[in-house]
Amino acid sequence: MNKAFNLENIRKDFPILDQEINGSPLAYFDNAASTQKPKAVIDAIKNYYEQDHSNVHRGVHTLSVRATELYEESRTKIAKFINANTSNEVVFTRGTTESINVLASTLSGLIKQGDEILISTMEHHSNIVPWQELCIRTGAILKIIPINKLGELQLDSLEKLLGKKTKIISVTHISNTLGTINPIKKIIELAHLYNAYVVIDGAQAIAHTPIDVQDLDCDFYTFSGHKLYGPTGIGVLYGKENLLNKLPPYQFGGEMILKVTFENTSYNSLPYKFEAGTPNIAGSIGLAAAIDYLNSLPLNLCHQYEMEIHDYALDQLKSFSNIRLIGESHKKSPIISFIANDIHPHDVGTILNQKGVAVRTGHHCTMPLMEFFNISGTIRASFSFYNTKNEVKQLIGGLGIAFKMLS
C-alpha cells in the first residue's frame, strides 16, 4: 500500500462528525461501542433500496437476482477480508452477541456433564452469559482464565487450566474495556493441543488489526458490522467449514431448508443452514461497502494513527494526578479506560458531553472485570482513525472542568 493517510479527507467521509454538541464540535470517542459510518456505507444502503431491493435466493426476476448477487458478493468480500478459505464459512448474524449465542447453542450437543469451558475475566457479557447458560443446560463447568493487575491474560494459568476436559475456549481478541490485545494465536495453539475448540470474540479487534482466520487457525471468529464502520443489525460468524457442517442449525424456517414435509425436513447446505428467514440484506451490503471503504484507505497507516492518538491522549492524561488507568497491558489497542479518585464516571461523562466530548462511562458490559478491579465503572475513550489531536485536547480540557467541578 502506497496510499497516504489523509485525515482531512477521511473526516469528510463521515458526515456525522461535522456537527456541534452543546455548542462545541463533536469529539466522538465512543468508537468501541459503535463506530460511525462513512458516506459510502450510507449510499450503498440507499442505492440498494432505491434500485435493487427484493427478497433474495428465491426469484427469477431481475431485482431478485440483483439482490441475491449483491448479498452473496458481500459474503465473498467479507470472506476475503478475514481470509476465510471459502465464503461458505461466513454466516451472517445480527452481531457478535448472536454469533456467540449460535455457537453456545449449537455446540451444546458436543458437551457432556463435567466438561470444561474456559473464558477469561475480561470478557464482555456477550461472551459470558451464553456459556453460563450452556453450562446450566449441560452440566459443564465454566472456568475463568485470570488476568493480572495490568489487565493481561495469564497464559501460564491458562496452561494449568487446560486439560482433557477442556472442550471450548472462548476469549476476546481485544478487550473492549481495557484495550488489551490477547495473544490469541498462542491460545489457539495451546487449546488445539487438547483438541478444544476456540471461539474468538473479535468485536473490538476487527476494526483495529488485520484478521487472518487461516493464519490464526481459530475454529470460530465473531464480529459485529456496526463496530467496523458498517450498519447495525449485521454481524458475522466465521467457522471452519467442517465444523459448521457438524453443527445443527440454530433457527428454522425459510432459506435454511432443503425440503419440508410435515413428516420430515432436510436442511440446506452452508452457509444457508444457519440463515433462516429473510436476512438483513441491506445490512450485509452495507457491511461489504464498509470493507470496500476500508480497503480504499491505507489501513495499516490508519491503525498506526489510531495508536498515535491513543499514545498522545495517554500522555496528556498523565497531567492529572487523580487519574488511575484501568488496563495497562503491554500490547494495547486504542482504548483508554480510567477512573478519577472518588468521582463517579457518570458525572464526568455528563460534564464532558456538555463540552461536546462523547465518552462511554460505566461497566461497559464487563461487570466481572469491574469486580476484579473493585470499581463500579470507568470512563472510556476509544479512538478511531478519524479522531484528531485537537479532539483529544478537548477531552483533556473537559476533564479539567469536570474535576474542578466535582472535587
Binding site: N22, D342, H344, P345, H346, D347, T350, I351, Q354, K355, T361, G362, H363, M367, M370, S376, G377, I401, M405, L406
Partner: protein, 147 residues
C-alpha cells in the same frame, strides 16, 4: 461556566453528593430494598425503620454518582420523621415530577426542586429517580410480604 451544568451540579447537590446524610446500614430495620441501574452500574440499598410513633427513619448505602447520591441524601432528610403514607405520597410526587412533569410545579421543598436540573440531561434522570423508586419498592414489597 455552563448554565445547565451549574443547575445540575448546584452547590446543595454537590454538597449532598460528596457528604451524604443518613448514610449507612442500621443494625435493625423493618424494610429493605436494593436498587440497581444496569446502565451505569449504580447501586443503592435502602433501609427503613419505624419508631413507636410510626414515623420513618431511613438510611441508605450506595455506590453511585453525585446525582444519585445527592438525591438519596436529600430524600432521607425529607422522608425522615413522617408517616409511611405521607412518604409514599411524596415519593410519587417526586417520581412523577422527574419522569413526567417537573418538580417545580409540585408542593415540594426548595432543595427537592433542585433535582429539576437533571431534566436537561435525559440520561441522568434515572440516576436521580433510583433512590426514590427503590424506597417505594422497599415499602410496597414489605406490604405484599405481610399480606
Amino acid at each position: 461556566m455552563d448554565k445547565k451544568l451549574q443547575l445540575l451540579y448546584q452547590s446543595t447537590i454537590l454538597e449532598h453528593g460528596q457528604d451524604p446524610r443518613n448514610f449507612g446500614k442500621p443494625d435493625r430495620y423493618d424494610e429493605f430494598a436494593e436498587g440497581f441501574n444496569p446502565l451505569c452500574g449504580d447501586k443503592v440499598n435502602i433501609y427503613c425503620k419505624y419508631n413507636f410513633n410510626l414515623e420513618l427513619e431511613i438510611t441508605f448505602e450506595s455506590v453511585s454518582c453525585v446525582i444519585c447520591t445527592a438525591s438519596a441524601s436529600l430524600m432521607t432528610t425529607e422522608l425522615g420523621g413522617i408517616s409511611k403514607g405521607k412518604a409514599i405520597e411524596l415519593i410519587d410526587a417526586v417520581l412523577d415530577g422527574l419522569h413526567c412533569s417537573t418538580l417545580n410545579q409540585k408542593p415540594l421543598s426548595k432543595q427537592l426542586t433542585m433535582l429539576d436540573g437533571v431534566k436537561e440531561f435525559p440520561s441522568r434522570i434515572q440516576c436521580a429517580a433510583l433512590p426514590w423508586a427503590t424506597t417505594r419498592k422497599a415499602m410496597i414489597e414489605s406490604e405484599t410480604r405481610l399480606e
